[in-house]
């Protein structure tokens, strides 16, 4: 059983709102001072799901793939420290500033090249752009079935049993391998690697691949291949100017608030 985990490095989504800045000229987020980028949280959970399947089966292999700059090595190393076996960094200036379509195309090409892959696990969405497309588009590129927003994944024979989150509960699904699954936070927390595992991860191989290595033309990836064109990235107005409710006691404050809500016809 060979599972590929797709992992993305992103600006820390828990950056305090006051430290979140956008450069209007480039439509890009300005890296917050002193806050290191992180592995997108849902990708860590996807890695956890993959590792549990590998461990339950006794054998098998987990490969982590990331498309990104040189710094994305850190995200790969983190998944390797969790227990993944090998890493692949898809790194080429031509890959930059693409959209979900081009990202999935590059990842799918890398998965095809590995050849012996049985399943691909992705996070439900990257916690920066929050699009939630790449897993689905990898499946379409590969012609594989896909099931998304999983809260539970188990391997039974040649099939994955996946519980997927719905608006009003969850659904039990079954899909034969090879397949793509996207994993949600309801799955649970990823493991936290300890020092010996982090040391061991440093010795694991990370292969680097460019567009040419994957047989991709620069015109079909990155900005050149993108179909969705970002016109403007901005911080929305918060709108409200808070009025703190006066009162000597909580009772007085409560009475004053309710009076205001009534006056505003909010209740």
């Amino acid at each position: 059983m060979h599972i590929v985990v797709c992992a993305k490095q992103i600006p820390d989504p828990e950056t305090p709102p006051a430290a979140f800045k956008i450069d209007a000229a480039t439509n890009k987020v300005v890296p917050a001072q002193g806050i290191a980028p992180v592995l997108s949280q849902f990708d860590g959970i996807a890695a956890e799901a993959a590792l549990r399947i590998k461990e339950a089966g006794g054998d098998g292999k987990v490969t982590v793939i990331s498309m990104g700059g040189e710094s994305a090595q850190a995200a790969i190393k983190q998944v390797l420290a969790m227990g993944a076996d090998e890493g692949v960094l898809l790194n080429d200036p031509a890959f930059e500033d693409g959209d979900s379509h081009t990202t999935a195309k590059v990842l799918a090409a890398a998965i095809k090249e590995l050849g012996d892959v049985d399943a691909v696990f992705c996070g439900r969405q990257a916690a920066d752009w929050d699009m939630g497309q790449v897993g689905l588009l990898i499946a379409e590129n590969l012609g594989w079935p896909v099931t998304i927003i999983a809260k539970g994944v188990a391997l039974e024979g040649n099939a994955l049993k996946v519980e997927r989150v719905l608006a009003d509960g969850f659904e039990k699904t079954e899909v034969n391998l090879p397949a793509v699954v996207t994993v949600s936070n309801e799955f649970g927390e990823p493991r936290y690697p300890k020092l010996p595992q982090i040391m061991a991860a440093a010795k694991k191989t990370v292969t680097k691949k460019t567009a040419a290595d994957l047989g991709l033309d620069p015109s079909e990836v990155g900005k050149a291949g993108a179909r969705l064109q970002l016109q403007k990235l901005f911080i929305p107005e918060k709108g409200a100017q808070v009025e703190f409710i006066e009162g000597e006691t909580p009772q007085e404050q409560a009475a004053n608030l309710v009076a205001k809500l009534k006056a505003d016809k909010a209740i």
């Binding site: 989504p13 828990e14 305090p16 709102p17 979140f20 987020v29 979900s100 379509h101 916690a127 920066d128 752009w129 929050d130 699009m131 939630g132 497309q133 689905l136 588009l137 379409e140 590129n141 079935p145 998304i148 989150v165 719905l166 608006a167 009003d168 509960g169 969850f170 659904e171 039990k172 699904t173 079954e174 899909v175 034969n176 936070n185 309801e186 179909r227 969705l228 064109q229 970002l230 016109q231 403007k232 990235l233 901005f234 911080i235 918060k238 709108g239 409200a240 808070v242 009025e243 703190f244 409710i245 006691t249 909580p250 404050q253 409560a254 608030l257 205001k260 809500l261 909010a266 209740i267």
Partner: protein
């Protein structure tokens, strides 16, 4: 510029869902003389076409195999509807259906989708889609290099359409095979009003300190009115097991847009606000006067919820 628009409809108990009606209204506003069509799949689809207000044409199949959404069954039908309607814009809800169908349909049509949009507009003939990004810290506006433009749209982004439904219906093929089998479903029973429908929502966060505190919030909702108020939670509270995941508000939970959102012991992280910043009014109770939630609030009470919430319950009970 006129746009031909296809709304990928969903049925809710045999009638077009509230999101479908919202999208139909949005589509009418954008069509500018072009056509508005709708696709409806599953039991009762042909009959529901007459209730799809604002659509001139409905692409339907009454095949009951469409009742449970399976992407691989819906895809060919919706793709046929897009092609036959000549749509240059396809709208669907950011629902279980839209989340899966949007990207896959876009792939099959050699185009792109913008997910979870809060606005879709026509700027001098060019379709623009605006959506939250970076956990709600930012918003991004996109155009499409390919056609049709596809967008999944957040609930309540448009008012629902009213009036007559589709005069003409076109049959779509029955459902084919799916490689993903649905073997069961578990529904989380939530008592009373749904947080996505309630005109007033009380949200509880980690600062409540213990699961029992949600009983106090339920009492607060009851004092406001069981027909009006419902209780939700932040992800931190849900992750601690204090409240069911189905009632989580935020980026990875439900999006609520009540008239009034009362946030209790919630800090106001961007990912939480992504699920409630569309509320008409926000009121917060927090002991930290610098909490981010106050930046979104019309009124704030700085204090310990343990004292403020009981006082609010008493006050609301006075009527």
């Amino acid at each position: 510029m006129p746009h031909n628009i296809l709304v990928v409809g969903e049925l809710d108990g045999g009638t077009p869902s509230s999101t479908t009606l919202e999208l139909l209204n949005g589509a009418q506003g954008l069509a500018g003389g072009g056509s508005v069509s709708v696709s409806l799949l599953g039991t009762g689809a042909s009959a529901a076409a007459a209730q799809a207000a604002g659509a001139s044409k409905a692409f339907v199949s009454d095949d009951a195999n469409y009742d449970t959404f399976r992407g691989e069954q819906w895809l060919p039908a919706v793709q046929a509807a897009v092609e036959q309607s000549g749509a240059d814009l396809v709208l669907m809800g950011q629902t279980t259906v839209g989340r899966e169908l949007g990207p896959r349909l876009a792939f099959r049509l050699n185009t792109a989708v913008a997910m979870d949009c809060v606005a879709v507009t026509d700027n001098g003939g060019t379709i623009e889609a605006t959506r939250p990004a970076y956990g709600g810290n930012a918003q991004a506006t996109y155009t499409f290099a390919t056609t049709p433009a596809v967008a999944t749209v957040r609930a309540k982004s448009f008012d629902p359409a009213t009036g007559g439904g589709a005069a003409e219906t076109v049959e779509l093929p029955a459902a084919g095979e799916s490689r993903v089998n649905v073997t069961g479903k578990e529904v989380t029973e939530s008592a009373g009003l749904a947080i996505t429908e309630a005109p007033i929502v009380v949200g509880g966060g980690r600062g409540l300190g213990a699961p029992e505190a949600f009983e106090d919030l339920k009492n607060l909702a009851a004092a406001i009115g069981t027909d009006k108020a419902a209780v939700g939670a932040s992800r931190a509270a849900v992750d601690l097991g204090w409240f069911p995941p189905s009632e989580q508000i935020g980026l990875t939970g439900k999006v609520v847009t009540p008239d009034l959102y009362i946030a209790v012991a919630i800090s106001g992280a961007s990912q939480h606000m992504a699920g409630c910043s569309g509320s008409k009014m926000i009121v917060a109770v927090n002991r930290d006067k610098d909490a981010n939630i106050f930046a979104f609030s019309k009124y704030g009470i700085v204090g310990d919820w343990k004292q403020v919430v009981p006082a609010l319950i008493e006050e609301f009970k006075k009527g």
